[in-house]
């Protein structure tokens, strides 16, 4: 190797320092922005130790989080797996914020740091900034200051009302976290710090000026005709905007027994749940995008002679581990690996654009052979979530490669039936079923607030829309209902209605539940 070629290398040993990190970052940035056309938030790379990584894990990956015992439980769990050597730590953690924060572990070698930089600081970062779900449903620039506010607020509440009182509210709110997101309606933007401050001041003012005397006034019930009451009820229902899918939102706004600080805590939990909602809908795309980006960038760096064979082999080894997909009967099978599926689909799109077969031209007439794989991918990353992405882009070639098959499983049969396999008749069915399995709306129980008689016994009626006859797990359901009652203050009942026939399948109420 000539001297000129050697000096072209970004780094040679596996040790890293801030100089090599910065040099490598710049080289990666050039490729990412100029060649791939990525568009990213400014980056902030933070070096942390493995203990700090474990800490970050247990507080759902956020740098700031309020305190709760469930995070301690998660920590104990992760710590145990890590110490037993059953699970390695992630090499990186990235936060959807502006600036985009990426954690790099100090134990990583320089080659790994380069890989992680490309993966998180450009792959994930681009996805966060450009995907429509993140753009519409989360507010990257506000999340960190909001979490800081949340943490301080909850500490303040603990000092004022006691740890156990706050914990009870948090427990109940966490139980409803899955039902605490707006799926169809866009959530209101996080208001600015100042506005929140003002709202809180107003609440505090209301608390101070509340006079118990008003309650003692005699009711003016003289001569109210029933039709008026009925009209009131329907108006009230309309005012409450029922049915409502966001249980936490409904309870926060409508519950009659909550104190202002308790409402604020519900709101905090709801905002956190909402913030993570897009991530759950784009697991395959997000990881696929990041993996594709790091793979492409690393290969370009190697082609340019900026990293040596040793580093490249190291990266390829961990890349291969990440995209490993064991077969369904393998003891290691944990489900479809989102990294593997996402990465394979992105590569497949590149192949279809550049080097299509006749079959691809049949299936993807718009993009096959167009050669514009970068634009196609950028467009897909921006405008899809997992469900629509798979429905749109999963090709027969890939179904054959993964040897995917569709299994139907009916509870009252003692066998599972193979419905489709990777053949001409099965492609469409497999693609549709796989896409559906990534549709959170379809897989999570659909539970809505249907009715509440505020003028009468204030009984809160929830409805579970049962799809495909899948009921709720009973112990957990009853425990969760108790949490709803805790927040609502009055009896709560849940009715299971079959989506297709409209029949009532089951009914349960907190009145019947023993504590």
């Amino acid at each position: 190797m000539t001297k000129g070629a050697a000096s072209n290398l970004l780094f040679q040993s596996s040790d890293w320092n801030f100089e090599t990190l910065a040099r490598t970052y710049d080289a990666i940035e050039t490729i990412a922005l100029d060649e791939l056309g990525l568009d990213v938030y400014p980056n902030q790379l933070e070096i942390i130790s493995s203990e700090q990584m474990l800490d970050a894990y247990s507080s759902v990956g956020m740098p700031l989080m309020y305190q709760h015992w469930s995070f301690g439980k998660r920590f104990v769990f992760e710590d145990h797996l890590y110490r037993k050597g059953r699970r390695g730590l992630a090499y990186e953690l990235v936060i959807n914020s502006n600036p985009c924060i990426t954690y790099l572990m100090e134990e990583n070698t320089m080659a790994m740091q380069a890989l992680v930089t490309a993966h998180a600081a450009f792959g994930h970062n681009h996805f966060f900034k450009n995907n429509y779900l993140f753009q519409q449903w989360t507010d990257a620039s506000a999340i960190l200051s909001y979490l800081e506010f949340a943490k301080k607020y909850i500490i303040k509440c603990e000092e004022r009302y006691g740890t156990s009182a706050v914990e009870e509210i948090l427990d109940s709110a966490h139980a409803l976290m899955d039902q605490g997101v707006f799926r169809y309606r866009r959530p209101p933007r996080l208001s600015s710090e100042k506005e929140r401050e003002r709202m809180r001041e107003r609440l505090e003012y209301e608390e101070q000026t509340y006079s118990d005397l008003w309650r003692t006034l005699p009711p003016t019930t003289a001569g109210v005709d029933p039709s008026e009451v009925e009209r009131d009820v329907s108006e009230r229902k309309k005012a409450l905007n029922l049915p409502e899918e966001n249980l936490l939102y409904f309870l926060e706004k409508t519950s009659l027994i909550l104190e202002p600080w308790q409402r604020e805590i519900l709101r905090i939990v709801r905002v956190v749940a909402q913030y993570f909602y897009p991530q759950r809908q784009t697991k395959v795309m997000n990881e696929g995008c990041a993996t594709f980006v790091h793979y492409t960038i690393m290969n370009r760096l190697f082609d340019q002679g900026k990293i040596n064979e040793g580093a490249m082999l190291e990266m390829l080894q961990s890349h291969t581990n990440v995209v490993f997909q064991p077969a369904f009967d393998d003891p290691r099978f944990p489900g479809l690996n989102p990294y593997a599926l996402g990465f394979a689909m992105m590569q497949d799109i590149e192949r279809i654009c550049v080097d299509p077969t006749a079959e691809d031209r049949d299936w993807f007439p718009e993009i096959a052979g167009s050669g514009k794989w970068r634009d196609t991918l950028l467009d897909a990353w921006a405008n899809h979530r997992d469900e629509s992405f798979i429905l749109q882009y999963l090709s027969p070639a890939l179904i054959r490669k993964f040897r995917l098959f569709l299994l139907t499983d009916e509870a009252d049969e003692n066998y599972c039936e193979v419905a489709s396999i990777h053949n001409e008749r099965g492609y469409e069915a497999i693609r549709a079923a796989l896409a559906r399995s990534y549709d959170i709306g379809a897989n999570q129980p659909d539970i809505q607030v249907m009715d509440v008689d505020l003028l009468g016994d204030r009984h809160l009626r929830l409805q579970h829309n049962v799809k495909n006859g899948v009921f709720l797990e009973e112990n957990s359901r009853d425990a969760t209902l108790r949490h709803v009652r805790h927040l609502w203050g009055y009896e709560v009942s849940l009715v299971g209605i079959d989506m297709e026939s409209g029949d009532t399948l089951y009914e349960c109420s907190t009145e019947e539940l023993s504590d």
Binding site: F18, A22, D26, N43, L45, E46, I47, I48, S49, Q52, D55, S59, Q67, W69, S70, F71, G72, K73, F75, V76, F77, Q179, Q325, P326, F328, P334, F402, R403, L404, F405, L406, L407, T408, D409, E410, A411, N414, Y415, C416, V418, I421, R425, L434, R436, S437, N443, Q444, P445, H464, V466, N468, G469, V470, F471, L472, E473, E474, S476, R477, H483
Partner: protein, 438 residues
Amino acid sequence: MPNFIDRRLNPKDKSLGNRQRFLKRAREELKRAIKERVKSGKITDVDAEQNVSMPARGVNEPSFQPDNNTGERRHVLPGNREFAAGDRIPKKASGGGAASAGAGTGQSEDDFQFVLSREEVLDLFFEDLELPDMVKLNLKESVAFKRRRAGFSASGSPTNINVGRTMRNSYGRRIALHRPARREVEALADEIAKLEKEANGTAKHRKRIEELRQTLEKLERRRRRIPYVDPVDIRFNRFEPQPLPNASAVMFCLMDVSASMGEREKDLAKRFFVLLHLFLKRRYERIDIVFIRHTDEAGEVDENTFFYSKQSGGTVVSTALEEMLRVIQERYPAHEWNIYAAQASDGENISGDSERCASLLHDELMRLCQYYAYVEIIDERETEIFGTTDNGTSLWRAYRTVDGEWPNFQMTRIAKPADIYPVFRKLFGKQPSVQLRK
């Protein structure tokens, strides 16, 4: 150029608060687990880290979850080899791994173990013993260390410089590098001065002075370049923490194992022994435990047999004391060992033997022992009757006489865990007056 931030020096243990909250939440379950462990484990094991399994109650986080045993669901799985459309795979059969794959993905967080630190274990163990906080603190405290000289090191703080060693190194280096001695330089300077005084102006003379001056300058340059004391010479005294030398102690556990001692009695006795062991462990580096059980005959046994095996027969307490005496004479001479004894019994004894026990204690054992504790385990209902009175079993009455005479003898009746601690109160109270270390 991105913004790099080094967070490695930030405080770790951000999750510590969360961990404590979690333990508090799971306290009842964990306490039960530790209690079980004390019951089934060895006495010496209590004072260490413990693995406990994730408690099932109190810490589950419910939410609305689909029930995997109902309705119709569809799975897309990779890696098909032999299936064709329409094949049926029986559930639960070996080939039907696919069916369970869908259900089994939600790996349970419940079936794993995690480690409680020694402090956390002791906290849980102490909880219903009602120890005063001071005592708890004392017990949790680890062994004291003393710093001891241990050779020299090349780094350290300036106060620890060892001058002798440093100068020796400096001297050796000066010799090795031929640093001119001051004596040499001074002699040369004197000679130059002398020659200059003579000043006879001959060329030879001037040349001689010139030569000497050059040599002098060379020597001085050399002295400057080779310092008298160089940083490499410096040596520091090195200190190592060493545990304080503690004498050894032996702890005798005596227990009646006749049929009248049931599960509850044995459990209480065990806690009593564990606590004594903790107290002793704090003071002594090395503790031997001797287990002596007795019915109508006594024998030294291992811990397992001591607590778990049953024996039938009458009850002759003095046999145990005799056995203890024998073991002391054989293996634990009193001038080398601190001897502690703890006896647990339900107070039953064959008639006439209690007096013999008392005299054995009076005449022999109490002279040898640092401390002798006797607990009589009684029914909770009996506390009302006996309470503080002197009447009771014959053994109790006989021991009362010993109690009056020997300050290091303690006896009490216990019916519940909280009663155990008072037995030890005196042991702590007299700590300054009685010399415990030999």
